[in-house]
């Protein structure tokens, strides 16, 4: 079975919510919709306090090249535009809407009927994806339409669909592949048309045999698409590792997947592309896994963007008494939340609850130079060395040691028997090296 060759770890999978079917979460009383839910420049609000909006209506426009539109996920009145702490912990501008009824913008097809025929031209598809605010739903939230525009002189020959879900605990992509497989497959065909590629591969780790089986049974209607089971290994869902695993192509340091003829999109993104292109529906809801060992009923919810995390936890049985940490995303790359009312955004793949005794780092001991961090680094870096160099403020040396190749997958900190804060120091180093590099370009 295929996997990427060098490095990687295998934390306990803990996919406790994998058999919980997707449930529609009721619309909350108010939603808080940040104007920056994507990588790149924040969108500009086009509504003001007191405006009444419908679900699916544009409320903030992405005007820069790397930006994304934001739509109202509910109907109601704009209560305020305020600074609210998002999953990063920083206070950022957000549009707060008081919910009144559930009225949708005209022209949006809310029926469940599958629309298979693709009528849009490649150019129209990219425009539509841009209009509807689609971003990468695996967590990195890169605006999808930018990825669909192949730069001059480059050519894509493969569309890679990321159904790996290598993060422990998370099951939202798994459920989508089981419950919205046809929508996803049409979405993939749409993306193939936009990119002009003949071949698409869906990479799925073999801890989801039911999803592999199910999608394979539908493939006869969707030419050019294949499914490739992958050996379970973290971080296989990282673009570069996934391409390496599937095609044995290695994206050069500092370059994008298109360099080796690939474009990578997530399963959730493909479903969103389907809804945008075939149903005219913007990205206003997503599937979120709510899970944790102490939680009464770990679930997968279809949630309106902007719903407070507390509403999801309530619906999954309420917050356990001994909860010590909330994480937005998976346990390896997710961000610890500062507030239980943080809103769900386009990149929220899961909400994870840790009991108090699992909420803390391990005690830190001396580095015993075991070399495990270097052995498991999927980018072939030496985390122990980078951490020391960054700690000693030797940032030029950090750059020479390829610190910018680090994607912060967290494998080094996970594996360290001495509990050393390797990734924390590397992050500091990356931010300083970034400053040095930007200064050089000026």
């Amino acid at each position: 079975m295929k996997t990427f060759k060098s490095g990687g770890v295998h934390p306990p999978e803990n996919k406790i919510s994998q058999s919980a079917a997707i449930e529609v979460l009721p619309v909350p009383e108010t939603v808080t919709i940040p104007i920056s839910q994507h990588l790149g420049v924040p969108a500009n609000p086009v509504v003001k306090k007191g405006d009444s909006v419908k679900a699916g209506q544009l409320i903030a426009k992405g005007e820069a090249f790397i930006s994304a539109n934001v739509h109202a996920s509910v109907s109601g009145t704009v209560q305020k535009i305020d600074e609210v702490a998002d999953s990063s912990g920083y206070r950022k501008k957000a549009i707060v809407i008081k919910v009144e009824g559930d009225e949708w913008e005209e022209g949006i097809d809310l029926s469940k009927d599958l629309v298979k025929d693709i009528t849009l031209s490649p150019k129209e598809i990219v425009t539509r994806i841009n209009e509807k605010g689609i971003v990468g739903m695996g967590g990195a939230t890169f605006p999808s339409h930018v990825k669909m525009m192949v730069p001059e002189g480059k050519k894509a020959d493969y569309l890679i669909i990321n159904g790996v879900e290598c993060e422990p605990y998370l099951t939202s992509d798994h459920r989508l592949m089981l419950e919205k497989a046809e929508e996803m497959l049409v979405g993939i065909r749409i993306q193939m048309r936009a990119l002009g590629v003949e071949k698409a591969i869906i990479g799925i780790e073999n801890n989801k045999p039911d999803a592999i089986e199910h999608i394979r049974s539908l493939l006869s209607d969707y030419p050019g698409i294949s499914v490739e089971p992958l050996k379970v290994k973290y971080p296989q869902g990282a673009e570069k590792q996934l391409i390496k695993a599937l095609l044995n192509r290695e994206v050069p340091s500092g370059k994008l997947p298109i360099e080796v003829g690939c474009v990578v999109h997530n399963v959730g993104t493909s479903v969103a592309v389907y809804e945008a292109a075939q149903k005219n529906k913007p990205l206003v809801e997503r599937v979120v896994t709510v899970t944790g060992k102490g939680l009464k009923s770990p679930s997968n919810f279809l949630v309106r963007i902007g719903t407070p995390v507390s509403a999801l936890i309530e619906a999954a049985g309420g917050i356990p008494e001994d909860t010590g940490k909330l994480v937005n995303g998976g346990p390896m790359m997710g961000k610890a939340l500062t507030d239980i009312n943080t809103p769900v955004t386009k990149g929220t793949s899961g909400i994870l609850l840790f009991p108090e005794q699992e909420a803390h780092r391990k005690p830190v001991h001396n580095c015993i130079r075991c070399g495990r961090c270097a052995g498991i680094c999927p980018m072939g870096l030496e985390p122990y060395l980078l951490a020391v160099l960054a700690g000693n403020k030797k940032f030029e040396d950090c750059e020479d040691e390829n610190i910018m190749d680090c994607m912060e997958c967290g494998s080094c900190l996970y594996i360290c028997p001495s509990g050393r804060p390797l990734l924390d120091q590397i992050r500091t180093g990356k931010s300083e090296v970034g400053k040095i590099m930007r200064a050089r370009h000026k």
């Binding site: 060098s6 490095g7 770890v9 934390p11 570069k240 044995n248 192509r249 290695e250 994206v251 050069p252 500092g254 370059k255 080796v260 917050i319 001994d322 909860t323 010590g324 940490k325 994480v327 995303g329 346990p331 390896m332 997710g334 961000k335 610890a336 939340l337 500062t338 994870l352 840790f354 108090e356 699992e358 909420a359 803390h360 780092r361 001991h365 001396n366 015993i368 130079r369 075991c370 070399g371 495990r372 270097a374 052995g375 680094c377 980018m379 072939g380 870096l381 030496e382 122990y384 190749d405 912060e408 967290g410 494998s411 996970y414 594996i415 360290c416 028997p417 001495s418 990734l423 992050r427």
Partner: protein
């Protein structure tokens, strides 16, 4: 509900810890210990207990009264140094010498450099080499193996197989005339020969090594490169003149090679980080071992070989980096 903890990702951590690894290594040494207790009796047990106790004692004294910092004697690293030091001295070594060896191992080789993880040289080997230079007579009287005995004094001693070959050849004898005086290879493999406490049984040590490989306390590169290069170099010499040079298999199963290649050279703290670094280091150890064994003044070269290569580790780490992802583009 409690106050929420906020920390950078990741939020899950391996179950492995420093002391789990250390005690895991101690566990893997049990077969070798049992063999030596069988052949060398109570004397071997006494040496082992003395070494472990004094290593922990000296670490405690130094951390408590000299450094005045946290005391970490139960993290298992002092225990390993003690066991390994005991394993590479003769079973009938006077116990006060064992205590001095422990002081050098812990005090000079480990704590002087800053304690666990900071030392350049393998502490147990430094202790052994110190003892070898200070007490050459006692360090060269190896008890002959018997079945378990409680005798502590007047033990029959004799040279190790390596020393017998070296002396014999120096006196003009042929290897084929010397070998009949040495136990058969099958016996040597089990550990029925003169030698240090824990180094005698290649089979018991390999068993421990397999356990450590499975538990990922060591990787295959260093032992394979070390043992492989000893075999190849000794084999070349043997092919050149089998009357003068002993066969390569003999080199593998006698002396401290197995213990050195599997337990000493693989010491995490004092060995290289990258795969190719480890291979180069292992080959260096093998080369130096054969050079010292065959051409040097001592019959055994494992301790010196590893210590010399320890000194090269920072350079090796600089020169042999892991292969960076995306460094050389391979498509297909």
């Amino acid at each position: 509900m409690n106050i929420l903890t906020v920390s950078g990702s990741p939020h899950v951590y391996t179950e492995e810890s420093v002391s789990k690894i250390m005690y895991g290594v101690v566990l893997s040494l049990i077969p070798a210990a049992l063999v030596s207790f069988y052949f060398f009796g109570l004397a071997a047990i006494m040496v082992t207990i003395t070494a472990v106790a004094s290593c922990m004692f000296f670490e405690y004294i130094i951390q408590r009264y000299l450094i005045k910092g946290p005391v970490t004697i139960f993290d298992g690293s002092a225990v390993i140094t003690g066991v390994l030091l005991a394993f590479i001295v003769p079973a009938n070594l006077p116990l006060w010498m064992v205590v001095i060896g422990s002081l050098v191992s812990i005090g000079m080789a480990k704590m002087t450099f800053g304690g666990l993880g900071k030392n350049v040289f393998n502490p147990a080997l430094v202790g052994r080499v110190f003892l070898m230079i200070s007490f050459p007579v006692e360090m060269n009287m190896y008890p002959k193996p018997t079945s378990f005995s409680t005798q502590l004094t007047d033990i029959v001693t004799g040279p190790t197989p390596l020393a017998m070959v070296k002396e014999g050849v120096a006196q003009g004898e042929k290897v084929s005339d010397i070998l009949p005086e040495i136990p058969e290879y099958a016996n040597l493999l089990m550990g029925n020969m003169g030698g240090s406490v824990g180094e005698i049984s290649a089979i018991a040590i390999i068993l421990g090594g397999i356990y450590m490989l499975i538990k990922k306390y060591i990787t295959w590169e260093i032992p394979a490169a070390y043992i492989g290069s000893v075999f190849v170099l000794a084999g070349i010499l043997w092919l050149i003149d089998p009357t003068y040079y002993v066969d390569p298999f003999f080199h593998l199963i006698t002396g401290g090679l197995m213990l050195g290649a599997i337990y000493m050279a693989t010491d995490m703290v004092t060995s290289p980080m990258s795969r190719w670094g480890m291979i180069v280091y292992g080959i260096g150890c093998g080369f130096l071992t054969i050079v010292i064994r065959v051409f040097g003044a001592y019959p055994e070269g494992v301790a010196f070989a590893i210590l010399i290569m320890n000194a090269f580790v920072p350079l090796i780490n600089r020169g042999f980096k892991p292969k960076r992802f995306g460094e050389e583009v391979k498509n297909g």
